[in-house]
Amino acid sequence: MTTERNPQLEALFAKANAELDDPGFRLELMRSIDRERRKTLVVWTAFVAASIVCVALFAAPLVSALKMATSLLPNSLVSVEADWLQQLLAPVNSVAAAIALGFLALRKLYRRLFG
């Protein structure tokens, strides 16, 4: 695609460009870069420190909760006498299955209402 320009104006634009090579601009920029780098370092340090504190504070209750969940999730909802039937129904007859089905049902309802 051709783009016609006025040659005199083009020359005027070229002449109007000042030579801007003062070191002050560059120095100020490098200072800003250093400031940003320090800021990033401070934020990351704070994040890591906060994470360490959280792990130290909540490690024990978190492990207990996980243990409780792993022991609770496979429990059967309805007791079945026959072993073979209990094993057959195991994927749906458990706390974990109930939670998963509940989640899927809620998601479907949400999509139907707001989707």
Binding site: R5, N17, M30
Partner: protein, 173 residues
Amino acid sequence: MLVSLSQTGNRNAFAELVARRQTWIRNLMRRCSGDRVLADDLSQQVFLQAWQSIRQLNDAARFAPWLKQMAINMWLQHKRRNDPLRAADQHFDSDSPHRDQPAIGMDLDKALGALSDDARLCVVLSYHERMTHAEIEALTGMPMGTVKSHIRRGTRRLQEELSAYLAYSEELT
């Protein structure tokens, strides 16, 4: 080479890149904004953003167009923010003399200041950056017809405002 070094986090290489490109970017921002201080402020932000995202640049040879795109996006963002205080401050300070600004530059900025924001951007991209209409359309998101009309009217307006310079250059040729 300098771009590749900068991508590894070499500050000196990036400082050299800035030294080589600052005239171009600062002049582009001056033509867009007409405000020397604002232009330098935005140019600083452009280079800072370039430093922060230079690792994402896949082809080092594309550094100049990548930087130009960043500069123009920075200007468009600034316009979108439309800070009224800053806008009130923006006075196309062409009447006050500046050590590093030739008179022709000040008069050009004053003439550009008479155009609307969009028209000024189109004219600057066309004449300062020598971009085609299609490139301006792609970069600014303005329709082709609008770009053409801005450039046509802007050119006419600049010819009127800068008639003295143009007549002088005609005499010389």
